[in-house]
């Protein structure tokens, strides 16, 4: 480990301000620089570490950019078929009720091909946690239109901008599933500023804590950028996200303790 | 001994349950049995039929096109299965709802007016057991004590109080059956 650092002599306890959790695998992330996935991975694994549940946590990664999340999250993992993560999680949580189970899904996975699995798992009131990364685009396959792509937003399959008359409207699936009696905690967060990151970590903790109550799904949407797919620099992407994504996908809690708050 | 039987009528006449009780009775006396229903939408108020085989040997095909006995409870079934009785075989029908009499001369034909009798006695629910009683008088392939055991096995426990009524119907059926054409 030590030889990776230019100045090992500086690595002393009194100088230590941050230590990466052991629940992240020690390898470079495959995500683009500036992408939000890495931060969410870290927050999620910090929650697992803080809660002391690493040995009884089972995660499910999707198809999409985070298909390889299992290479970075140092807990037992399964890779689901596209959109099916909530079906896997349903079975695992019911077969292992004393395990903490989470799915980690993108917008295409959760809100397009996996809509049925998402809605029905939420409606059954399954007791696992869903982490939903919404960047309004299909990142891994090269920047195609997602169910959450904003009106007028350009992607490789709507190169002249999303025309809602032809392509339909952006799907606010988080608001949709909040209506279901089987969801207990539903929130929308972001990871573009240190303050937002701290809030997201709290939200993740609360969503995982839902599993102790057995009252239904804990659901955390994280509005994130895709600077590669959006064809912007990371800084531009975060600015664009604040200006365009947040008005459509406003941050904050939507359902708390089983009650709608927005 | 192998007895190959088709029981056919309307859905709701107890065709399938009559077959099931017969099959279970066979099991109770250590015979091989199979019970092969017609299934699907036609069951709901339409025609229903079931092939029951009771045998001392391992049963090969549960699906047959020739039968030792046909028990017929409506006209459609008579039209469909009269010619499926093996020469020298047995056809039993309930004349209620039958508009055309069976015509075969190479088989034994009996009638049993069970529907009328059951209605008269307020025993419509066990009408099918009257018919079964008639059949067993002619072909006692299962013993009465095993029918009772078969009833116990095939009826849910909450319906066991109906067993005496079922047994009464079996006895009535034995008296009710009449020859029409006997070889």
């Amino acid at each position: 480990m030590e030889e990776k650092f230019a100045h090992p002599e500086l690595r002393t306890p009194e100088n230590l301000v941050y230590k990466r959790t052991d629940f992240l695998v020690d390898r470079p992330l495959s995500y683009c620089p500036g992408c939000g996935h890495g931060v969410v991975h870290r927050m999620l694994m910090e929650v697992v570490e803080d809660k002391g549940i690493g040995s009884i946590t089972i995660g499910i990664s999707p198809v999409g950019c985070s298909v390889l999340a299992y290479d970075f999250l140092n807990v037992d993992m399964l890779g689901a078929a596209h959109g099916r993560a909530p079906a896997l999680a349903t079975a695992i949580k019911r077969l292992w009720p004393n395990r903490y189970v989470f799915t980690y899904q993108g917008d295409g996975d959760l809100a397009a091909i996996g809509t049925a699995e998402t809605i029905h798992a939420c409606n059954r009131g399954e007791n696992f946690t869903i982490i939903f990364i919404n960047n309004g685009i299909y990142g891994m396959t090269g920047g195609q239109m997602a169910p959450t792509t904003l009106p007028g937003m350009r992607t490789s399959t709507c190169p002249y901008g999303r025309d809602v008359g032809i392509m339909g409207h952006p799907m606010k699936i988080t608001e949709l599933i909040a209506q279901l009696p089987g969801t207990y905690y539903v929130t929308r967060q972001a990871v573009h500023t240190p303050a937002a990151v701290r809030k997201t970590k709290k939200a993740l903790r609360k969503a995982i804590d839902c599993q102790d109550l057995g009252k239904g799904i804990g659901f955390v949407e994280v509005v994130s950028n895709c600077n590669s797919g959006w064809k912007m620099t990371p800084v531009q992407a975060n600015q664009w996200m604040e200006e365009h994504m947040f008005p459509k996908y406003p941050l904050g809690d939507i359902k708390v303790d089983g009650e709608l708050v927005k | 001994m192998t007895e190959e039987i088709i029981i056919a009528g309307f859905g709701g006449q107890g065709v399938l349950s009559m077959g099931k009780i017969l099959a279970y009775s066979g099991v109770m006396q250590d015979q091989e049995v199979s019970w092969m229903p017609s299934y699907g939408p036609e069951m709901r108020g339409g025609t229903a039929n079931v092939t029951v085989i009771v045998s001392d040997e391992r049963i090969s095909s549960p699906i047959l096109n020739k039968f030792d006995t046909a028990i017929i409870l409506n006209q459609q079934s008579l039209d469909k299965f009269e010619n499926a009785v093996k020469p020298g075989g047995l056809l039993i029908y309930d004349p209620n709802g039958i508009t055309r009499q069976p015509e075969r001369k190479d088989i034994n034909i009996y009638s049993i007016a069970a529907a009328d009798e059951a209605a008269k006695m307020g025993l419509s629910k066990v009408f099918n057991m009257m018919v079964l009683g008639g059949f067993l008088k002619l072909k006692p392939i299962v013993k009465m004590e095993n029918i009772r055991k078969g009833l116990e096995k095939s009826l849910p426990a909450r319906h066991h109080k109906l067993i005496p009524e079922n047994e009464k119907a079996l006895t009535i059926g034995q008296d009710l059956i009449q020859p029409v054409h006997v070889l």
Binding site: I58, N74, G79, A80, A87, L88, A91 | V33, G40, I63
Partner: protein, 360 residues
Amino acid sequence: MGELRLMKGNEAIAEAAIRVGCDGYFGYPITPQSEVMEYLMAEKPYETTGMVVLQAESEVAAINMLYGGAGTGKMVMTSSSSPGISLMQEGISYLAGTQLPALIVNIVRGGPGLGTIQPSQADYFQAVKGGGHGDYYTIVYAPASVQEMADFVKLGFDAAFHYRTPVLILSDGAIGQMMEKVYLPDPIPRRTEEEVISQCPWASTGKPPTREHHIMTSLDLDPAGQERLNLLLQEKYRVIEEKEVLYEKIDCDDAEYVFVAFGLSARICQKAVHLAREQGIKVGLFRPITLFPFPKKPLQELGKKVKGMLVVEMNAGQMIEDVILSVGFQIPIKHYGRFGGIIPTPDEVFRMLKEKIIGG
């Protein structure tokens, strides 16, 4: 021998599942197999053995629930009928690629499309030649009686876990719906969590600090790695072909002609064998019990002794391809099939044997 009951094939599968210690059933209603889940829901094994029974929102969800359960080492199963099994092919391919054990029951109905709810054997190719995408096979058992419906649940789970592969029971609507005597297996307790973890050391059950984390996936973006996985799968299938072949021969010793048939068709042909022998014609029946692995060698041997074979299937001629691949072209091998839910009668197949093989 266990407890004796008169049961439908579908019910026998459900009861056997409870008794062999199945951990979870996930399904979606479809005729003619809905009795499997109905029976389980009525029996409430979740209150007795702790077996989970869940009605999923679709066959797609159901098979992916299996994938989740299987990835954690649990003994999981589903049942469906042809159109539903088509929907499940995605998940079956993933189970094969990830090398996960699971039991899938197909109570086949006539197709293509929505088809009919009546029995058929038209899903032979789908079951035996892979079914979903990629180079894989599932072990396929073809029961011909209600007793085998019950017995093959244990057999299927054992093979699934031994080889870490999805296993199919390929039956049909008639065997699912008919009642016969069945001796049920003696109940085996479900495995404890500790037993699951020790018996499935590969599974994602929660990572203790003492080992690396487990990843259940079929994805390997490195071509060399993906080829290694494929070679491993092919080696597994070779071992299965060597060790797991099951078949039954009836009256074949002195037979001059044989029927080759599986499942319900084999029962019908068995009656036709009787009819033929009553007329002094020496006819036998060869019944493959495993359709993959196909009993190539015993059939090849039989092909050297008889004058001809009639392959009887409730389809347009699917298994006949495997029969010809096994036996070759030295003797006449013909096919007789009915479709769309029509079941051939014993008279009919005997007549066809005379017309197509003996007379020809």
